[in-house]
Symmetry: D2
Subunit: 322 residues, 4 copies
Amino acid sequence: MTFQFDRNDPEAAIAEAAERCSNWGRWGDRDVRGTLNHLDDGKRREAAELVHRGAVFSLAQRFDTDGPQKGWRRRTNPVHTMLDTGTDAAAGSQGFPHGIGGADDVVSMPLQCSTQWDGLGHIFDRARAWNGRPAGEVVTAAGDQVTGIETAADGFTGRAVLLDAGRALGEDGELPDGFAITAEQLTEIADRQGSAVGRGDIVLVRTGQLTRARRDGWGDYAGGPAPGLSFGTAEWLHGTEIAAIATDTWGVEVRPNEFADAFQPLHQIAIPHIGLFLGEMWDLDALAADCAWDGRYDFLLAAAPIPITGAVGAPVNPIAVK
Amino acid sequence: MTFQFDRNDPEAAIAEAAERCSNWGRWGDRDVRGTLNHLDDGKRREAAELVHRGAVFSLAQRFDTDGPQKGWRRRTNPVHTMLDTGTDAAAGSQGFPHGIGGADDVVSMPLQCSTQWDGLGHIFDRARAWNGRPAGEVVTAAGDQVTGIETAADGFTGRAVLLDAGRALGEDGELPDGFAITAEQLTEIADRQGSAVGRGDIVLVRTGQLTRARRDGWGDYAGGPAPGLSFGTAEWLHGTEIAAIATDTWGVEVRPNEFADAFQPLHQIAIPHIGLFLGEMWDLDALAADCAWDGRYDFLLAAAPIPITGAVGAPVNPIAVK
Amino acid sequence: MTFQFDRNDPEAAIAEAAERCSNWGRWGDRDVRGTLNHLDDGKRREAAELVHRGAVFSLAQRFDTDGPQKGWRRRTNPVHTMLDTGTDAAAGSQGFPHGIGGADDVVSMPLQCSTQWDGLGHIFDRARAWNGRPAGEVVTAAGDQVTGIETAADGFTGRAVLLDAGRALGEDGELPDGFAITAEQLTEIADRQGSAVGRGDIVLVRTGQLTRARRDGWGDYAGGPAPGLSFGTAEWLHGTEIAAIATDTWGVEVRPNEFADAFQPLHQIAIPHIGLFLGEMWDLDALAADCAWDGRYDFLLAAAPIPITGAVGAPVNPIAVK
Amino acid sequence: MTFQFDRNDPEAAIAEAAERCSNWGRWGDRDVRGTLNHLDDGKRREAAELVHRGAVFSLAQRFDTDGPQKGWRRRTNPVHTMLDTGTDAAAGSQGFPHGIGGADDVVSMPLQCSTQWDGLGHIFDRARAWNGRPAGEVVTAAGDQVTGIETAADGFTGRAVLLDAGRALGEDGELPDGFAITAEQLTEIADRQGSAVGRGDIVLVRTGQLTRARRDGWGDYAGGPAPGLSFGTAEWLHGTEIAAIATDTWGVEVRPNEFADAFQPLHQIAIPHIGLFLGEMWDLDALAADCAWDGRYDFLLAAAPIPITGAVGAPVNPIAVK
């Protein structure tokens, strides 16, 4: 099921994958939800039935000034500042009556600085956005006029399956940077775990890179070498009819990318052609430890992004309940 | 169960309510979760069992430059700008290889500009924060050092009950501004709906004010007159042992407040003394219409805030599943 | 000298003015300074000789959260927040040694929220920027790649002339909104004041609208009706060979604009064709009062913008010395 | 004239210097201008007479995303984003009439990210701000309520003297990091240059560190080791009655600081006790080359900060005219 491709010819490989994996028109000309169309009420009922213990896990990293970003293309870490503080309240300088005091705050941040979903307007292939739309008509300086993340505000709640590639294929639970996970391996992990992946599921792939970054420091976590999906998984992403996929890495796919001079080629298929939402920088460690312990790798996931109008991606605090 | 108070003496009323409703020390000196302690695994299992149809509702407003904020105490609407656009991708000026193009974005916003949770560091009573801590030691210019919203990152998933006060007590589904909802009315609505409210539940109160604002324009939605909880509901909020409460208004409580010269006196009890999380500016309309239709007012809610380190409140996209 | 134009045909009027007033190619293909080329060392020497008393005037408005902006096209007022405060320093929570304490701050603001210069990349005519360059090759989402305001960082210091149109043509020193100042009137004011305007000068036109806004409230100061230059002054702006022009209004030119369905048509000539820098929202009141008192309307001006890389406009605190 | 101090006892040294150098009360209880009181009309006339050639120099660094900041205490580099672009104008998606197109932009930045003036509310000594005011009453989360930079909006224009310590004391025009410049050396440089420093002057000290950073990369320019003023220059700063002083380094004073466990001790005297404004990260290289060439080291300087209400420091584009 892994797509074979010529590593010296990214253009040809991308063109071929685009053709094989296209969902353009599948849900009509006006579609803005892409693979979220696979996730239906039945899948949400199925997800609810997976809640056995009531255990809950937040899969978000902290949105923190000491985060992984290093300023690439102006992607900084969040800057959080206070409009009012407890110190001022204690000093009595706030001007409120009857002893009430308050604190209030502001944040300035790239929408992809930490745990997030890529929206369908995030990536283009040869100037085409999801469903074949001209990129220039979709995302202007005023934002995403068509597939802004607000159009997916009620998506991303359903059955999720954790594929713990770090534990299954790595040493001490971690894959090395540059490790390309294949479609066969994804299937094999699912089989071994007893958790089939199918239509409408949300797939979470743990590589263990975040575990390593937490231990050793961020280093080049943001954009540097990383384990991740092989370009060859494009057909698996398309054929399984999953609703979305997320990883614990900066960019979902293996880095360095598998072509000589390349930048995120799997994104170029997944987002504009498959209409697939990609989740990045998720913290899967506590959940994965729990799955390893109880042997259950599927659960209810609620992972709705903050619906910032016109955003091409958005912060999320994904919640898993087992 | 509604607390009786002297409208001419807010200081005395607040002091008395604070004493009656205090949860200080209830979960130990180090507690940072307040009433989220009421929400346990059992409650999450109960919530999952409430998923019958698999219908899903996002309870977030759009985070939009055309939002309700008017700049009070520097609370503006979000400013969303692009770091890269589809127009640039189409013009070929982005410098990426093999035909890939991208869009990326940034937001600058007050954390309480739209649908949000108040954290436990948001409000103080006479310079004391939740659990009796000195406000000045909790929230400095560096943020909330103790009860930052990241400490509640895995909270807010459980059984929720919608109390549709707009439909139950109003005309055409809307309460007028200045309407003070009492504890008796909350109980009566729950009884009539057949949805008891108890320990660990998250309560959503719809007043219909947002419906009105959407129809008539924002006007003074942010901080002006509004229907909402009476100060007298403090004991109900405490006694029911709910985990959190949210409304479709700017400030949860009735405005103008019920004392002559007052500012959000119920907050002054709820947050620092009860340790109760307050949700504001939720969009309950679609959910409420569905509840009115199928007669089921309780459901699974997943409403985890974005865990911005040190934040005293945070954006959330609450998801209800029925 | 005032250009005659058909008020029902903005396209034709603009095309004709563009042709008459073009400076394209005048300073070579690579020019990025436009009319700043008129301002030379000799002009700066002349300016220095105008310093008689040593009196100094700041011509900047305060950059303030209570400013004139109302959110049009995401132009908000500045949001200034603290990273560290004196209250925290006094509370001893900053962690610095030997009794030092500090305060530090951040601002988030549109570059045209208050007193500013329009850069040459701010306005285009039929997709052409200054010097005939394609707009799409000049200003992308990454900023102005060619004429970013940093390229004019050492400009704007020279001889300036105040033309106090408010006092000369208005009542009580103020022109009414909608008053279109003609080229003849500009010349007449200069003559009457005894301050000729010529090559390399910076012209400051006071209408008195800011005086009014300060007295009566901002109202629609940002983008609403205003006194200002007639479209017919285009040839005067070109022919006088001035280096720059600034006013005390939001948009330099008269508003409503003089064509039926129009938006800032004089900008469309001045910036891309003449290569003229426009200053907006300057505070000329104290300076004008002084000029009325001592009868001297020309002086040294130092008005260098903050050189934010790639900006199409920038904040400035202009200093006049008489 | 250099103050002698015990390097093992910063508290004692600071207390003694504070006593010797205090200007508290010198200009009345309400003073907010500190040493700007030394700079009068006569000094501005003198400055104008220094304009011989009309040559102009911008002393600002670029405000750039690739700047020196590394996030210390949330001090990041500026993030500049576009609200409208030329690409969009060219694509015709802006909705303006008669062929006009526009670009507009926003910046989010710490006020001390690049070339700036420290305001008088920036530093405190044992919880006291300039003129002896309690720090907590001066700078709250709402900003500097007393000495906000807007109160100095018309300051900083006068005679300036460049002391090129890099050329005078260094090798190849650069002082090594950790080099502490003494008061004697400052006087000697002025003497050698033939440019006396006295009451009301603005002093610019070039160390050459920025030259090095530009050549070798930023490294630890922001907060790391640097040449700069010795703590012992406190009395010189006080006694010369200069109006302000600026350098080409991050923090004016030598780093590492001259006490064992110290942080910017000279700031602790200069700002709250002397009432002296400190300029940081100025680009003095082109000006210094010119001074070395023509032998004139004094000139007119116009260096008015952007008057952001309540700011404790502010960006400036200083202009020198010779």
